[in-house]
């Protein structure tokens, strides 16, 4: 396992819902696909998530929310990324999300939304197809 480009992903659980089995399973799937996954635990505020994303220089943030507060939490993450000139970081969401909310979330800047029952392979494949490790000097400052 030599070095080389590695996708760095933050798997984050914003909000108050109480278990992270899903997030851990997802983290493992990403790891098994060769990605480096930062996992920072339950109950994250959007501020914490964005700070971690910046310090860890991630390419992708996967937000998982089961509490129903996604319409506030997900767009808030996007907003904070913009404030920090980090809108080049791709953000995806998952969890218990009514289908009607999906277009609104996408409009807010969430690139893709994954619903329960979807396959892990789809999520991994999506990341492979849509996210690239940042290139030297390529990212907007």
């Amino acid at each position: 396992m030599t070095s080389g480009r590695k996708l760095r992903i933050l798997v984050a659980k914003p909000g108050l819902d109480g278990h992270d089995r899903g997030a851990k399973i997802l983290a493992r799937a990403y790891r098994d696909a060769g990605f480096e996954v930062i996992y920072s635990g339950l109950h994250q505020t959007p501020e914490q998530i964005v700070h971690v994303a910046l310090q860890e220089d991630v390419d992708l943030i996967g937000l998982s929310c089961l509490s129903g507060a996604h319409m506030y939490l997900f767009p808030r993450v996007i907003e904070l990324l913009k404030e920090n000139k980090a809108e080049d970081i791709t953000v995806i969401g998952g969890g218990i999300i009514p289908v009607d909310d999906i277009p609104k979330l996408k409009k807010a800047g969430i690139k893709e939304v994954f619903l329960p029952g979807g396959s892990l392979k789809d999520m991994v494949d999506w990341a492979k197809a849509n996210v690239e490790p940042c290139r030297y000097g390529e990212r907007k400052e």
């Binding site: 480009r5 760095r8 983290a27 790891r31 480096e36 996954v37 930062i38 971690v52 030297y136 990212r139």
Partner: protein, 317 residues
């Protein structure tokens, strides 16, 4: 403005980006490191090693808190293993330190070993330099918790902590693995659990057998309950004493020289290796040499000497 300049101003995004470029050995990173090097050597580097689950991350969490109360800025480097199968990694040490996530005075970076042995990652030395140049007063390094031979850290840390846990028997393994020699401070964590005395007595006995009594610093043994924030004041005090002893005894200077020597050797090794592998792809020179070796037309010593001569003649790496 170049990344290095922004790192010197403490810019988080620029620092995070440069860390990435250094870790992935991207072109350009070396020029930035050259700019930063004169600004390094100020931070106190504390290494924390110990078996998986011994409480390294939790200890770092409470140490961050203690240093922040002294108004010191903190850098944390938390290393977890890469999967040998996929090359991916789950970096989860931050979970225990999450309350510091939004504190501007705390910069935490997770690294995967990426096949590097010795409990650190190949980039660790430069990651320390960058956090140092960024102006962090203290840099805490958590090694991989594999419980054996994570001894690289002694080359990087001014003060090495080894975390042990009572009752599990893990600590015996840890000590067997040669960790006894590297510890400046033994932290018996989870002191709320059974069997603290046993570890302490055993450890003391082993130390008395090993250490020459004239040594300027005798390893100390401390009890902590990281999760209850107990014993941390004492730990902070002993870390401070260790640093003072390093400086007073002249070992700090000696350490810096040794560190510099190792770094020069490492950089030489890797630039030579880079140069040699480029030779191999540029003109098949090395491949031909290997053919000659395989058919015994030349011996490896003469071949290596040929390669070096050629590099010197070209006058560049």
């Amino acid at each position: 403005m170049g990344l290095a300049k922004r790192v010197l101003q403490g810019d988080v995004r620029a620092t995070a980006r440069l860390l990435r470029e250094v870790e992935e050995e991207l072109p350009g990173a070396i020029d930035e490191l050259k700019v930063l090097y004169p600004h390094t050597g100020k931070a106190h580097v504390v290494g924390i090693t110990g078996a998986p689950g011994s409480g390294k991350s939790t200890l770092i969490d409470v140490l961050i808190d203690a240093y922040r109360k002294e108004n010191k800025t903190v850098g944390v480097i938390a290393i977890d293993p890469s999967s040998p199968f996929s090359g991916g990694a789950i970096l989860g040490d931050r979970i225990r330190m999450q309350r510091h996530a939004t504190d501007e005075g705390v910069f935490i970076r997770s690294l995967a070993t990426r096949g590097w042995h010795g409990g650190l990652s190949k980039a660790a030395a430069n990651v320390i330099h960058i956090m140092d140049a960024m102006g962090r007063d203290v840099i805490l390094v958590e090694t991989v918790g594999v419980g054996q031979a994570e001894v690289d850290i002694m080359n990087f840390a001014h003060t090495s902590l080894v975390a042990l846990v009572p009752g599990t028997g893990d600590w015996v393994q840890t000590l067997k693995a040669g960790i006894l020699e590297i510890a400046d401070i033994f932290v018996i964590n989870k002191a709320d659990k059974q069997g603290v005395n046993e570890v302490e007595v055993e450890l003391q006995a082993m130390l008395q057998m090993g250490a020459p009594s004239a040594a300027a610093w005798k390893p100390r043994i401390l009890l902590t309950e990281a999760i209850n924030n107990k014993g941390i004041d004492d730990l902070m005090e002993v870390i401070r004493q260790h640093r003072e002893s390093l400086i007073a005894s002249g070992r700090y200077e000696a350490y810096l020289r040794e560190r510099s020597r190792l770094e020069l050797v490492e950089v030489l090794k890797s630039s030579l290796m880079d140069r040699v592998s480029r030779m191999a792809t540029e003109d098949d020179y090395v491949e031909k040499l290997i053919d000659d070796l395989a058919s015994r037309r030349v011996d490896p010593y003469s071949a290596a000497s040929d390669v070096l001569k050629r590099i010197v003649q070209e006058g560049k790496f």
